[in-house]
Symmetry: C2
Subunit: 230 residues, 2 copies
DNA sequence: AACCAATTTGGTGCGCCGCTCCAAATGTGT
DNA sequence: ACACATTTGGAGCGGCGCACCAAATTGGTT
């Protein structure tokens, strides 16, 4: 009777909650949001739907949990150098989110969905806290912290979601990328010049541009604008 | 034999494509994306699924068409005053998109989905052209037009998607709004202050802030940053 | 007015989905 | 060894998107 366990708790854990989430993310990465089905999960984990439900809840909850897992990992990114400026911090976390969405394209819609539906969930709050903490160090007066953080978060998540393509690292997916740019350029060229003068004016830039660089340029622009807040 | 019709074309059009799209938007507005089902459509229009398929294509195509319809309408917004600055133009179209998403919350995810999957569809191109056209008049050098337009579009769509709540006009939905802000503030207050110092620092602002004003502040910040491009 | 080919319609059924429910299996405390 | 709580696998239900098709409807031709 030496035990004072309020809860029995552990057992052999053949099927852990973590393993379900991990497998769910694999399925999502491989085939998009529609590939995450209860049946596919049960088959991969060789179990039944009841067990999955018991541990991970509904499909919607599972998607939220997967989102939370990926985002939390990205938010843990730290700048490489020793003395990091607030700009470094912001760039680092922004790029981490960029890469996370490049690797998990299903995040693009799921992230906005979670921000809209759960404005005080760990994802929303985590992103806000992580980025917002830097704006004070940027010299933004406290009265404008909320506005400044909102603007930064809106821009970063907007850019990151709209760039959800497969070009995270320079491993094997580069050819598709070139084809994709070529197709886009051709399509833009085919537009009626009198109706789309701007698209024609920039079509030359699309082939040579780099999404990641453009993203950093955008961040620099927003940071520049923030310094004028007073 | 006076007819030289290559196509018979018109007929009584009891069930027009427009009517399907219109009804689809009604269903989406009322119950979100999951409320748009073939069966619900057939019931409302008292027809069969074949007819809907014949005119509007798959459910996914119909969702894209609905998105296109709403976005195109928003992009047609023009500034009120006679002599409109490029800043006025940008603010006007940005607010039109803001209101469109406030009225049709399902747009938030559908819009990013369309931008990611169809980078040369009418929605993506339309938004880019409409906003991009203004950056030249802002004094941005042509070499930076693409970057400037990207940044603006990313910010505007990001902010707009993340604000997808029901507070478009001041008609009847205001009480929920106050409750919602109160709940958010309370939730933020409950966070551990040592882990979330920033959230605690700004929690006072949430009750008094206005989404639309904050959105305009963000646009001003980005526009400010754009003027430094050279 | 009668006919025809093309177009348009309503509806049935298939395969799949998320999810509920529950009997059996597996563990723990005494 | 026994009672009991936890955990599991799977069968079944209602609903979904969609392919498919026989019937109805059209406008043009004669």
């Amino acid at each position: 009777m030496a035990t004072r366990t309020g809860r029995p708790q552990r057992r052999n854990q053949v099927l852990s909650r973590e393993r379900i989430i991990e497998t769910a993310i694999e399925l999502l990465d491989a085939g998009g949001e529609s590939a995450l089905t209860t049946r596919a999960l049960t088959e991969r984990l060789s179990t039944g739907s009841g067990a999955i439900y018991y541990r991970a809840g509904s499909r919607d909850e599972l998607l939220d949990t997967a989102t939370e897992t990926v985002v939390t990992a990205a938010l843990a990114a730290k700048p490489a150098g020793a003395a990091a400026t607030p700009e470094d911090e912001i760039r680092t976390v922004a790029l981490a989110l960029f890469d996370a969405i490049a690797e998990h394209q299903w995040l693009a819609t799921r992230l906005t969905l979670q921000i809209v539906r759960k404005p005080f969930g760990p994802v929303t709050v985590g992103i806000f806290e992580r980025i917002g903490r830097q704006v004070g160090a940027l010299g933004v007066p406290q009265a404008s912290w909320f506005d400044a953080a909102s603007t930064l978060v809106h821009y970063i998540l907007g850019a990151v979601s709209q760039n959800a393509r497969i070009d995270g690292d320079t491993s094997t997916v580069q050819p598709d990328r070139a084809e994709f740019l070529e197709a886009t350029a051709t399509a833009w060229q085919a537009l009626a010049p009198e109706d789309y003068p701007f698209m024609h004016a920039i079509v030359g830039r699309i082939r040579e541009h780099d999404d990641r660089e453009q993203f950093l340029t955008g961040i620099a622009i927003v940071l520049d604008g923030l310094t004028r807040l007073g």
